[in-house]
């Protein structure tokens, strides 16, 4: 009998703390599959952010480190410089990467640190209860934009994949969305490219993943997935913004 589907070795057999319909579980699984496929489990060092994925290390069976909120790329820089042969990924949410850690991500990208950043954009501060994120779309409601995000007061959402593609030493920048199975296959393809970019020593790579948060979007999980692939993807168009192979 052929095994068609099983838990990846790099994924710990454990119930996650994530809410039903959350995108983190999907990305964790894809990451674990890739760690197995690329045979890098014994040289991977991951960074868990402050936010919903704070205990990502409970699920991924690789060496992992914590970072203060937003400082994730700086800590990843310190690890990668000390262990250039390690495969270092920085797993970050939108508050972590695009608000409190804006300086760290821009300068790690500008230095061309040979790390892979996995940027989970769910357009909300989910861990703290649904406040506005730097990526909350215009007019979207959150607990701190009860009347909807007002660009006059809060500015427009930050477009990270586009922003980082402007730096010469960024090798790869792509945005993908968690939607149906087709989109999820794209997430895996992009993450694999991101890790391969690092393994081949090409420099800084970032994959922005539009990710559902049914609880704070106040949607049923299937609607949240459709929202990711639909309205969210209109605000944040998926696509390759920088590619060292092109």
């Amino acid at each position: 009998m052929t095994t068609l589907y099983r838990r990846p070795n790099a994924l710990i057999d454990r119930v996650t703390h994530y809410c039903a319909g959350c995108g983190h579980g999907i990305v964790h699984r894809i990451l674990a599959e890739l760690i197995d496929e690329l045979e890098i489990r014994e040289r991977t060092i991951g960074m868990a952010p402050v936010g919903c994925a704070v205990v990502a290390y409970n699920y991924l069976d690789v060496d992992m480190c914590e970072a203060p909120h937003g400082r994730t790329p700086a800590v990843a820089t310190g690890i990668k410089r000390a262990r250039p042969d390690a495969v270092v990924f920085s797993y970050q949410g939108d508050g972590d990467l695009a608000a409190i850690g804006t300086a760290e991500i821009i300068h790690a990208a500008n230095r061309g640190e040979n790390i892979t950043v996995i940027f989970i954009n769910n357009a909300v501060y989910a861990m703290t209860g649904g406040q506005m994120a730097p990526t909350t779309p215009d007019a979207a409601r959150s607990t701190t934009t009860p009347a909807g995000r007002n660009p006059e007061n809060e500015g427009h959402p930050l477009k990270v994949a586009e922003l980082l593609s402007n730096f010469d030493r960024v090798a790869y920048s792509e945005r993908v969305a968690i939607g149906g199975p087709g989109e999820i296959r794209q997430v895996k393809r992009a993450l694999k490219k991101g890790l391969r970019t690092q393994i081949e020593g090409k420099g800084f790579s970032i994959v922005e993943v539009l990710s559902p948060c049914p609880v704070h979007w106040r949607m049923r999980p299937e609607d949240a997935f459709a929202h990711c692939a639909g309205p969210m993807s209109e605000v944040f168009p998926p696509g390759v913004y920088k590619d060292w192979e092109k």
Partner: protein
Amino acid sequence: MPKTLMTGNEAMAGGAVRAGCRYYYGYPITPQNEVPEYMSRRMPEVGGVFIQSESELAAINMVLGTSAAGKRAMTSSSSPGISLKQEGISYIAGCRLPAVIANVQRGGPGLGDIQAAQGDYFQATKGGGHGDYHLIVLAPSSVQEMADLTTEAFDLADRYRVPVMILADAQVGQMMEPLEWREYSPPDDLPGKDWALTGAKGRPKNLVRSFRMYAEELEEHNRTLQATYARITEQETRWEESGCEDADVVVVAYGSTARTARGLLARGVDGAKLGLLRPITLWPFPTGRIRELAEEGAAFLVAEMSAGQMVEDVRLAVEGRSPVEFYGRMGGIPVTIEEMAAHAGHLSRSNARRSRRAEGAETTGGGR
């Protein structure tokens, strides 16, 4: 051994390289720029890494990452920059990582000025960032010590898995003195770094974190930290003293102020027997020795370039057993020998009176 003439800041940087530190991350700020400048030249020569980081926050977190990866790393700054690093220092303490952080103090609060000051004593010795933790705080008082204590700081950090701070000031950082580069090799009994992140090859995965989901777990983690601090207090408290055994007045001073205090002892004060106690570790503080001297009847003059910070630790040690006076200057102004002499003389006279009264009470007490 031949001597080299160099600044305290360069000696500090050289001391780090001698200790095998190959990773330096920093951000420019006066009066410590000689450190990153030296490191930017030296690190490529020794196969190390130098990054001028985008911020103090990034620098301390690069140190966190490199230390988590099992390598010796350092950052340096001056007062306002050290304030910015406090978040990272708290995480380093919480993650039980070794690290060396140098503060070449300048005047504060706020932007203050760039002259020598000692106003960051509280910040350095009482934690600085959030949560219950301590740094080992070393206070060099010469260019030689800038080199030697910095080298040793890496051993202390590795031995106890704690951040170590070199608390210097603009004076000891900027001045030039001859120093000897003594041979160094790391102690044989340093514990291995089996906790380091290297990739989980042939072992279960390692995890570097301060976070605990449950209160009981976090309390347990804190108990481990506190046990470490108790061990450090027992084993690493250091000071230098001269003439304290029979002194009426013991001057307590650290860093560059201790140099002035040495000048005061050489000058002398009429009718006063002076001693000098110079804490080398500000945390752990030489509480026990100060208490002994207080019990023997010594009064204390604490001199600092601050509004009075270390004096609180002296008072906690003395616990009312004998007089404790403070003299300090602020704003980046050094304390002078003459100013100290006036205070020491006054304290000596009043403490002498106190001893006479005590003697008088003993001799006449029975007849009253």
